[in-house]
């Protein structure tokens, strides 16, 4: 592997770390539910990049995990194994993408319902309103 490869490798992992930091920061500090959902999506997408990086290999030529002949000989298969990227991380990525999409839809529906009930998407305001409700109920 040449120097350019190493530079790219370190750069990609630094981007992953930075993305994780941004997503965690948003998840923890932003009170808006929509921003929390967006940050959760960023975190999920970062994990897809991690999977893609884990599955990549620094060889030349690097190919996708597809046999281009439909009646492959043993030599064809060995040639694919010698140059292909790992097929398992992309599989996990597909699984994770769909789960992420469905969970996001569920969270969006919940956020809309909360907005309808409380008139706001901020968790801080919602907890304040909740306290007021409880106070009114006791009084």
């Amino acid at each position: 592997m040449n120097d350019l490869g190493i530079i790219f490798w370190i750069y990609a992992w630094l981007i992953v770390l930075a993305n994780t930091g941004v997503a965690l920061y948003g998840l923890i500090t932003r009170p808006s539910l929509l921003k929390k959902i967006a940050c959760l999506t960023i975190l999920a997408d970062t994990s897809f990049i991690i999977l893609a990086l884990i599955g990549y290999r620094f060889t030349y030529p690097v190919k996708p995990y597809i046999l281009t002949t439909w009646n492959p000989s043993e030599a064809d298969i060995q040639r694919l194994v010698a140059s292909s990227v790992d097929p398992l991380p992309p599989t996990l990525t597909i699984t994770a993408v769909v789960i992420n999409l469905s969970i996001t839809i569920l969270l969006v529906f919940l956020a809309i319902r909360l907005y309808e009930i409380y008139g706001t998407n901020s968790v801080k305001k919602i907890s304040m309103l909740k306290k007021q409700e409880r106070g009114a109920g006791e009084g």
């Binding site: 930091g21 884990i54 620094f58 993408v97 769909v98 789960i99 999409l101 469905s102 839809i105 529906f109």
Partner: protein, 260 residues
């Protein structure tokens, strides 16, 4: 700066440091910048269209072979999570299930947006169905195709209106029906081998049974056994589920606009 903010910043930094330490020093993600393939991935690639009749998935595409054959149960449970999530989101707004779509006002964006989206609409349909049906040959498959197909109702919803979706025949009841039928087909494909004394989720020939899904089309194109059928069912199931969710979102937004 309050204490809460300082603690948050420190905890995020600690998490990032732990992640970096694990990745770079402990090598959790494997050796940095690997030049060779892991043995598990290499085995999958060797067997997927290889000559071993018990191990083959009869598919030249690695990801689909792993997704629906070698790690099929994994994908089955993932499908269950997907549909549980969609059903849960629909149940949160169950009152809209009885509501008719046509009551919302037919509105839309400008002529330019509508004309452009009409072209993109057809392109999306062709690409997504192509992705779904050729999943055993090229990258793609049911999930990818279905998720791409779900863009169609969103595009119609944004450029035209919910009412136009109804005019095109995309309604939430049909989406629900499509999703249910597709899921039943999926379970049938998984259970059919049992009728012929095979195994659940069996694809190609396995020891102790003579059952085998057809590995090739008549012209010799790899069919991947049940991979093609599972991908097709999954395409319709995922497209139906997401269409249902997006139409409901459109209805909720429409009701919000109509409310005084």
């Amino acid at each position: 700066m309050t204490w809460a903010k300082i603690i948050t910043a420190i905890s995020i930094l600690v998490i990032l440091f732990a992640l970096a330490y694990g990745l770079f020093y402990l090598g959790i993600a494997g050796p940095p910048a690997p030049t060779s393939l892991r043995s598990l991935g290499a085995k999958y690639l060797e067997y997927m269209l290889g000559n071993n009749k018990y191990y083959t998935a009869s598919s030249p595409e690695g990801v689909t072979a792993i997704l629906w054959d070698y790690r099929g149960l994994d994908t089955l449970y993932e499908t269950m999570v997907l549909f549980a999530a969609v059903i849960a989101s629909v149940l949160i707004y169950r009152e809209y299930l009885e509501k008719r779509e046509t009551r919302t006002r037919p509105r839309g964006l400008s002529l330019i947006v509508r004309s452009v989206s009409k072209i993109i609409l057809w392109l999306t349909i062709i690409v997504s169905v192509g992705l779904g049906l050729t999943g055993q040959l090229t990258p793609g498959g049911g999930f990818v195709g279905g998720a791409a197909f779900a863009v169609v109702p969103v595009l119609v919803l944004l450029a035209y209106s919910v009412a136009y979706n109804v005019k095109l025949g995309i309604t939430k009841n049909r989406a629900l029906l499509q999703r249910t039928i597709a899921l039943l087909c999926l379970s049938a494909i998984i259970l059919i081998p049992l009728l012929f004394s095979g195994y659940v989720f069996q694809n190609q020939l396995k020891p102790g049974t003579s059952f085998c899904y057809p590995g090739r089309f008549l012209d010799g194109t790899p069919l991947g056994g049940n991979l093609f059928f599972l991908n097709t069912a999954e395409l319709f199931a995922v497209a139906g589920a997401f269409t249902l969710a997006f139409i409901l979102l459109g209805l909720i937004a429409g009701a919000r606009e109509e409310a005084p």
